[in-house]
């Protein structure tokens, strides 16, 4: 990922914390790494259960075109999101999935693929299912290497509701450590 502009799409159900993931990634890169990050979101009128997508553009310079066209990285948190957006992922991109919510059978994946049961980990290892998005943030940080662990942890701490920082940092570490394990580090 040496390119000046990195496009990321995060997609799943409304209620999974997709927008917050995008927010944490953007904040880490822009506020704590000091570069530029633009977050846009597409949403329907539903508050829960509808398809939800967050798009983040990371750049060393000012982001001109704010939307994601052909993502370098796609994080799929639901089957519907995977089916809808997988075709736009770059051929040499990175695909990250919530492996218990996305079934890849019958699809020939040509990109680098990373899988994590983020929801189950949030339930079993963190003790709060709600933290699944932060587990995924940790995993994303480890497997992409785009943003430092430190910047991401600061962004998590700065973003989550007060009183839940410790819980969410734990969730982040669970995802991060699993990511390192997957990479064989």
């Amino acid at each position: 990922m040496a390119a000046d502009r990195v496009e990321i799409r995060l997609a799943g159900f409304g209620g999974q914390g997709i927008i917050m993931m995008g927010y944490v990634i953007g904040k880490a890169y822009s506020i704590f790494e000091g570069y530029e990050a633009t977050l846009t979101q597409s949403f329907g009128p539903e508050a829960r259960g509808g398809a939800c997508s967050a798009q983040v553009v990371l750049s060393k310079d000012k982001v001109l075109y704010p939307y994601v066209v052909q993502p370098d990285i796609f994080v799929a948190m639901s089957q519907e999101a995977f089916t809808k957006y997988y075709p736009t992922l770059k051929k040499d991109g990175i695909l990250i999935i919530e492996e218990e919510l996305v079934d890849l059978s019958g699809v020939d994946i040509t990109q680098k693929l990373f899988k994590i049961p983020a929801t189950r980990f949030a339930e079993e290892k963190v003790g709060r299912r709600l933290t699944l998005n932060i587990v995924m943030c940790g995993f994303f940080t480890a497997v992409t290497g785009l943003i430092s662990r430190d910047a991401m942890r600061k962004a998590v701490e700065d973003t989550v509701p007060s009183g839940t920082e410790e819980l969410n940092l734990k969730a982040f570490d669970v995802g991060y450590e699993y990511g390192q394990q997957v990479l064989g580090k």
Partner: protein, 395 residues
């Protein structure tokens, strides 16, 4: 000599530091930094976050937010707050903006300084609530009945939402007009880094209070230099009358007097047209020896920059960008100068009726072709479309 008093921002309203926030939140922070202490609104997508944040922040700063029963009420309620001495705004989107037209005219006629924020979405009617457009640009200028002039400002990033809404409040105070802060859904919902400076670095205009005593003061006697009258507020011991009817310098209705009407309406327009050079704000990039000029505003100008890069990279075409920040009044002389040098002017905007492009055509008067590049909204231009238009125009 018109007396404009500049001061610095009240630290209470200034959240100094780097934030990762969207354009709507940034506009709210800019308004607070500018000294806005009252907002009335009726929530509407995609503008709701502006007043949501205002409602949450204002009790800490000292001021008031009222959620009114609708946009008609909101747009007049804020004017009451202005005459009680506060700086005030309302925030809305297309359908609400249509409802506010009557009272935008009232603010123009009564010379009530205030800011109307319109986070534009696709129309007509309820259109595309969650998607952007720039289709209210002519409405913002001419939407209320009768002759008047106003000021339109268009930001292209959350940082500019913060900075330029401060300009909007300042210009409203200097010229005593309703200023239209024309955002769009893309800029409103886009989250980026916003750096808020120290309060002492933020310049704020104070209201043009009269220095005359009760009895001597004429509410609508204009300053001879910039044609703007001075203000008082309710409770200060002055007798005055605020009316939407044509009025004389005392503020008394004179609705059948041709001369008074003529003088008043001309002054309402001329205080903007004659001071336009002090209001203009634009940005140029590579316009010194360009063959093609892109002239745009808001999110469309930002997206166009990518199209310009493509034209330079792929074909080596010399393209300049002229970005209007204050969209009305327009810096006509500079546009004419450029029109005399370039092969064509392309105007990308998120409406298909050439709402700003037709104004450029009027200014350019055939000196070069003006090519409207309209997009109906519910999205922004694909930079490739801007690239293609550049290549076509350069042939």
């Amino acid at each position: 000599m018109a007396e404009i008093k500049w001061t610095t921002a009240d630290p209470k309203g200034v959240l100094t530091g780097a934030h990762y926030i969207d354009g709507n939140h940034a506009a709210c922070e800019g308004a607070l930094a500018a000294g806005c202490r009252f907002a009335a609104g009726y929530p509407i997508t995609p503008s709701t976050e502006v007043v949501e944040r205002f409602a949450a922040r204002i009790p800490l700063v000292g001021g008031m937010f009222i959620q009114m029963e609708d946009e008609i009420a909101s747009s007049i309620c804020l004017q009451g707050a202005v005459w009680a001495g506060l700086k005030a705004m309302t925030v809305t989107s297309g359908p609400g903006f249509s409802l506010m037209m009557e009272h935008i005219g009232f603010a123009a006629m009564t010379e009530t300084p205030c800011v109307f924020v319109n986070v534009q979405r696709g129309g007509p009617s309820t259109g595309t609530p969650t998607l952007p457009a720039q289709g209210d640009m002519q409405q913002a200028r001419w939407g209320s009945h009768g002759d008047y002039e106003t000021i339109l400002i268009s930001p292209s990033s959350p940082q500019e939402c913060f900075e330029f809404i401060i300009d909007a409040f300042n210009l409203a105070e200097i010229y005593r007009v309703p200023v239209m802060f024309m955002m769009d859904e893309c800029v409103g919902h886009m989250t980026e880094k916003v750096v808020i400076p120290e309060p002492e670095k933020i310049k704020v205009v104070e209201r043009r209070w009269t220095d005359k005593k009760p009895g001597e003061y004429l509410p609508y006697q204009p300053d001879p230099e910039d044609l703007v009258p001075y203000m008082v507020k309710a409770g200060d011991g002055y007798r005055f009358h605020i009316t939407g009817l044509t009025h004389d310098e005392r503020g008394y209705p004179a609705a059948t007097d041709v001369e008074i009407h003529n003088n008043l309406v001309r002054r309402l327009c001329e205080k903007i047209t004659k001071n336009a050079h002090k209001i203009w704000k634009w940005e140029e990039k590579d316009t010194d020896d360009c063959d093609i000029l892109i002239l745009s505003y808001g999110i469309s100008a930002r997206v166009a920059l990518r199209g310009i890069e493509l034209a330079k990279e792929r074909k080596g075409i010399k393209v300049g960008l002229f970005r209007l920040i204050v969209v009305w009044p327009m810096p006509e002389q500079r546009i004419i100068e450029l029109a005399e040098k370039v092969k064509a002017i392309i105007v990308p905007e998120l409406n298909i009726r050439a709402q700003v492009a037709r104004e450029i055509e009027r200014i350019v008067k055939g000196r070069c072709p003006v090519i409207p590049l309209g997009h109906a909204g519910a999205g922004v231009h694909n930079p490739e479309d801007i690239y293609n238009a550049i290549v076509e125009a350069a042939k």
